[in-house]
């Protein structure tokens, strides 16, 4: 293979007249990956969900907590986009108002996993030796316990509530971030600029903060966007199981759980809030993988 590919290079010496290239059909210009329809739709989903989280009042006028009993279990209509629940509350309003809490929990879990994992990975990768061995064996074990079971154990110990669910999911995320961060640090620490900084007499914390961290950060942030979907699913699963928000408060996972008893009479009750979760996770995954692809190029 190498012999064949090297041969033409030797032939195309400056003295040889340029061979006319056969006419190539002009390829359709590839659209920028962020401008493809799928990516644009994903951006739109994320923007709408962010809007719901930040200003729910702008998107719905209905009260998420007070219902009209006469309207109970009515199917989706112009007045109630997602239909109503067993107490006559507007499900669209409940979904919109639940966004803030669900998203906060997911972001908190992600932040916890990111910060703790990144610090552990940074320390392990930079110090090496015994510290590295101990930290990495610990992450091995954390990875050996299925994430949801680990989260359930943390919830058992801490108690119930959206905040505690977020912490529990975050704990299960730490190991993933620690692994990637360590691998990045191992790559960065052998570069010449880090060597130069060390030789110039910079102290370890300074080298870590000024040279290693900024250069190792990008893949971690990309991983965070990819993991957002995983975290959303974990948070909503735990809240579906009933360990999250307390009943009257709307929250995505518990909204779906509330509809469980009305499966045969009200398909919209579980289907539509669940569809919102799936759409957001799909959009987040799509954008995460786009960023990841850019990172690899």
């Amino acid at each position: 293979m190498t012999l064949v590919s090297q041969a033409p290079a030797a032939v195309t010496a400056p003295s040889v007249a340029p061979v006319p290239t056969p006419p190539v059909r002009p390829a359709r210009r590839a659209r920028h990956p962020f401008l493809r329809p799928g990516a644009l739709a994903s951006f739109a989903v994320v923007l709408v969900v962010l809007g719901w989280a930040l200003a729910p009042g702008l998107f719905t006028a209905a009260d998420p907590l007070v219902g009209v009993p006469a309207d109970k279990l009515s199917p989706p209509s112009a007045a109630h986009w997602f239909g109503t629940d067993n107490l006559g509350r507007d499900l669209y309003a409940r979904t919109v108002h639940g966004t803030g809490l669900s998203l906060q929990a997911a972001l908190l879990a992600l932040g916890l996993g990111l910060v703790v994992g990144a610090v552990a990975g940074l320390v392990a990768g930079y110090l090496g030796g015994v510290v590295d061995a101990v930290l990495m064996r610990t992450t091995d074990v954390l990875l050996a316990i299925p994430g949801l079971l680990l989260s359930l154990a943390v919830v058992t110990a801490l108690g119930f509530g959206t905040l505690k669910v977020a912490i529990a999911v975050g704990v299960a995320e730490v190991a993933t971030f620690a692994r990637v961060m360590r691998a990045e640090v191992l790559r960065v620490r052998t570069t010449t600029y880090v060597e130069a900084a060390v030789l110039a007499g910079a102290r370890r914390p300074a080298v870590l903060a000024r040279h290693v961290l900024p250069n190792a950060a990008a893949p971690i942030l990309v991983l965070a966007t990819v993991q957002l979907g995983v975290v959303m699913l974990a948070v909503s699963s735990l809240s579906f199981l009933g360990f999250g928000a307390v009943p009257p408060t709307p929250e995505w996972g518990s909204l779906v759980a509330e509809g469980r008893n009305y499966l045969s009479v009200a398909w919209w009750f579980t289907t539509l809030p669940g569809l919102v979760i799936a759409a957001l996770v799909l959009a987040a995954n799509r954008l995460g993988h786009l960023l990841e692809g850019r990172e690899h190029r």
Binding site: A144, P146, L148, A153, T156, F240, V256, G274, N285
Partner: protein
């Protein structure tokens, strides 16, 4: 070969011990007071009787220093004694043994379905020369990993139990009751299998041995079966080791959706009642399953790819 097996066994035992330790740390050291949590869960809002607290502390050994508690529990665990359930008083190992067969049936059927579904998608996408079919097939896995498991389950229940009464909605009776839960559990995993397989099959199609086989006159179908699938299967095997742990965790959600008795129902009840010994038992069994499956995968490698046994293990 014996060295390889022994090293793997040692690593497996180490992971199991560490999982026990981590679950002890999380469950017994995190809360300020496990006894009051247990009493509160058993009798919410009730007044706490100091005598009861002292009795419980003594029974579970909370009045002793953490290290001593840990060593006692570890010693018991080594003999197969995982303690006693706080809410029911039954031995944890008994509860786990009762629940496990149901979950084992569910997860193994789900694993089979996931392999079949994911393998079919990846094989068709890799074999087909129609870009449209390939695009349509490869659009499925991202959908599969984005849907919450409980939502898939509820959708299937709605469609195939209520709209069209084909399968029973709840319970453990018979094979029919296994179909919907197994499919629910299989969908996310089949998406991952399809993604990994499709990627490694694409790499295999570019390999020189494929070119050779095609040049010798083999059809695309023959190349796909004899060369591409076999070579692409190895990365997917590694994935299985990781996936089985997630299947077990997914079973917690799926068994709750379908109200099946099993591991998942046991965990869900135990977490609700903050029944610490049961939860710890479940975590340890989860790690045990993970370790055993990975051990089997590791030991199956040399049989499938002789190159692995010849090179010294790196990990």
């Amino acid at each position: 070969m014996t060295g390889y097996v022994l090293r793997r066994l040692g690593a497996a035992a180490l992971v199991l011990w560490a999982a026990f330790t981590v679950s002890f740390a999380v469950l017994y050291l995190l809360p300020s007071d496990p006894v009051s949590i247990m009493l509160d869960a058993a009798n919410p809002g009730g007044t706490v009787d100091p005598a009861q607290v002292a009795e419980l502390s003594a029974r579970y050994g909370f009045d002793r220093p953490p290290l001593e508690q840990y060593l006692v529990l570890l010693g018991q665990a080594l003999t197969g004694d995982l303690g006693v359930s706080v809410s029911s008083g039954a031995p944890v190992s008994q509860l786990l043994a009762d629940a496990f067969p149901q979950t084992l049936a569910l997860t193994s059927v789900a694993l089979g379905v996931a392999l079949l579904l994911g393998g079919t998608i990846a094989t068709l996408a890799s074999w087909s020369r129609s870009t449209r079919l390939r695009g349509a097939l490869l659009a499925l896995p991202p959908l599969g990993v984005s849907m919450p498991t409980f939502w898939i389950g509820l959708l299937l229940l709605q469609l195939f139990s209520f709209r069209l009464p084909i399968f029973p909605a709840v319970g453990n009776q018979g094979v029919a009751s296994l179909v919907l839960p197994a499919v629910t559990l299989a969908i996310p995993l089949s998406a991952v299998v399809a993604q990994v397989l499709a990627r490694s099959m694409r790499t295999a199609w570019d390999a020189p041995y494929v070119e050779t086989a095609l040049a010798k006159g083999a059809s695309r179908g023959r190349v796909q079966w004899r060369h591409v699938t076999r070579n692409a299967a190895l990365p997917a095997l590694t994935l299985l080791g990781i996936a089985v742990g997630n299947l077990l965790a997914g079973a917690v959600v799926v068994e709750t959706v379908f109200s099946r008795a099993g591991f998942g129902g046991l965990v869900e009840k135990a977490v609700r009642a903050q029944d610490i010994p049961v939860v710890q038992g479940v975590v340890v069994v989860g790690a045990l399953v993970f370790v055993v499956v990975n051990l089997v995968v590791d030991l199956a490698y040399p049989a499938l790819d002789p190159r692995i046994a010849r090179t010294p293990a790196t990990a």
